[in-house]
Symmetry: C2
Subunit: 332 residues, 2 copies
DNA sequence: ACCACACCTTAAAGCGCTTTAAAAGCGCCG
DNA sequence: CGGCGCTTTTAAAGCGCTTTAAGGTGTGGT
């Protein structure tokens, strides 16, 4: 098995120095047309691929953005996709560090740092504000989807309270009076969404008092929520997220209820599954494209020195009305 | 901002050479107890973290396994989790390279090679056999979930035909005569599963002729399958995978059918969603744990020189009977 | 005492690439 | 025709770590 070709081999074949070859291959100015041609040609014919480790080591800047994510979360997958594209467009590379049962956020971040990532994009980070702040002191850190106040940490998030408010208004507009909110796992995100719910309920004339239920962010939590709902069934439910809404939906239907005739259901995230014809869930979109774009932009701005005060990008969520919401029908 | 501490700093603080420090930090034999203590201590107090790029570059072996995966596929997520654990146990590191809209398998693999991954674990690779074979000539390559014959490529897969056979037998055992198979996206996997279905149907006395339907691997495909099924409703359906089964289920129920009373449904993958109380899908498990284990083992065996003939590990899938299958009831 | 031998420790040579500072080439003007 | 300013090219010094071969130190045997 022949050894992997090195830059030196390319240079030798093109009869130039490795310096020239390096410059050409990275499209930097300097080398003339003749040299360019020769190098590119040589590289192509011997099938040269630069060694990422070596180039990372030698380079001052790594232009690497690290992303921590929960691989089993479809919304994260969607964000990652957009982040890749946005980073690409700005000449940055992305390295992903998945969170798993055996690999918590701390370890995931560490391995990103080991690779010299200049910026960290944390999807829905669950570490404490203090830990985040500490990280932010040495790295460009962008927390996505979570509110944090720390001079070194940028935040990109959707206005979750507004989003839930939109859902409440939509339901109230349809004529619903009793709207229940099924919470997510306790945490900053749940708190914010609950707030949006409570405020919107208080603001609207004629709706019943706010009523929230402990829930969670998986389908199973939604199922449990639906079960607890039965005691006093409202005409509409807003779930913490789509997965939770799915569980709710499924359980309600199994109990013989018709959605949206008997109960309206609203989710949150506009995940791919919500868009399916048969699920067709009314939900709140967090605009993953804009989020990713903003997050990458924030990191890059920090790194290229244009900014040192923390950014707090708040995106306006928007309601996606689909088939799980309708005017309430009188129940006899 | 103080510069990141280097090995040299640790060594200086511990009053030993960088060679000793390196040895200690990687737990290699050589240094005595006193030196060990001093180095570990120094590293801890200055918060040293080795630079992955530098160490990769200097090391002969990288002990890196690259994984390509579709982040939006829950089964892949599950496999990744197990792969991480298995690799960890053998002292290998894992780097994941996600496939996205803008990043096909070729690019994903390239970036893994750029990082000097010694082994590639490809989850459900879609590249041609020739491309795989070429890759296999220079790297340890393990194709997971797909059959390939090439001297350089190891294969770890479940016996999909057997799995579908189990499903057919289960249904036949319950008394079903008409069992339809909804296919996945055309490809080697669909072919194999269809084969298993056709053979099992042919083998069992008393069942009707095999009947397959074009489908796909998403929920939407399942929905379409259900719609086409209505013309001539069988008593049982086997779907290409769980996602497809979900679409089927949902659509059938919306049409007022009761599962499993009117129709039994079987999925494939035993994905987390199938396990949910409200979905409770009878399905075929591919044993992700065993798959990951086998895949990592195969890669490691190749790398550590114990083997050069291709491995073809075929795992026996097993049926997970849940609530979507039951004996057929007479329809009047 | 002296030497052989094990055991620790270290200096130094890379790993493959980037980058900087200096050399070389090259037209052009006076 | 020498000298000047310009662009193109290159030698060489790292980036932070690993590894190897050589050096040091202490033990026990004779």
């Amino acid at each position: 098995m022949p050894p992997r070709p090195r830059l030196e081999d390319v240079a030798a074949r093109a009869r130039v120095s490795t310096a020239t070859a390096s410059l050409v291959l990275r499209g930097k100015p300097g080398p003339g047309a003749a040299a360019r041609e020769a190098v590119l040609d040589a590289a192509r014919t011997i099938g040269y691929r630069p060694d990422a480790a070596a180039s990372l080591l030698a380079r001052r800047r790594t232009q690497l953005l690290g992303v921590t994510m929960d691989v089993s979360n479809p919304f994260h997958a969607e964000l990652l996709e957009e982040i890749q594209a946005a980073a690409d467009a700005r000449g940055y590379d992305v390295v992903v560090s998945p969170l798993t049962r055996t690999r918590d956020e701390r370890r995931a971040v560490e391995s990103l740092l080991d690779f010299r990532c200049e910026g960290l994009l944390l999807l829905g980070p669950s570490m404490t504000a203090a830990e985040l702040a500490e990280l932010g002191e040495r790295q460009a850190v962008v927390a996505i989807g979570r509110r944090v106040t720390s001079p070194g940490v940028d935040v990109v998030r959707a206005a979750d309270d507004v989003g839930v408010g939109l859902a409440v208004e939509h339901l109230a507009g349809l004529g619903h009076r009793q709207v229940v909110f099924v919470e997510g796992r306790p945490g900053p995100i749940t708190t914010l969404r609950r707030q949006g719910y409570v405020r919107a309920m208080g603001r609207l004339p004629g709706v019943a008092a706010a009523r929230t239920l402990a829930g969670g962010d998986t389908e199973a939590d939604g199922v449990r929520g639906a079960e607890r709902l039965r005691a006093e069934l409202p005409t509409a439910v807003i779930a913490f997220n789509d997965r939770c809404a799915l569980g709710l939906l499924d359980r309600l239907r199994r109990d013989g209820l018709d959605v949206p005739r008997d109960v309206s259901v609203v989710g949150y995230d506009d995940s791919p599954v919500a868009r399916l014809a048969t699920i067709d869930l009314t939900t709140v979109s967090q605009a993953p494209h804009a989020m990713a774009e903003a997050a990458v932009a924030a990191a890059v701005e920090r790194l290229e020195g244009h900014r040192s005060e923390p950014a707090d990008v708040v995106l306006e969520p928007h309601l996606v009305v689909r088939g799980t919401t309708a005017p309430p029908t009188d129940r006899t």
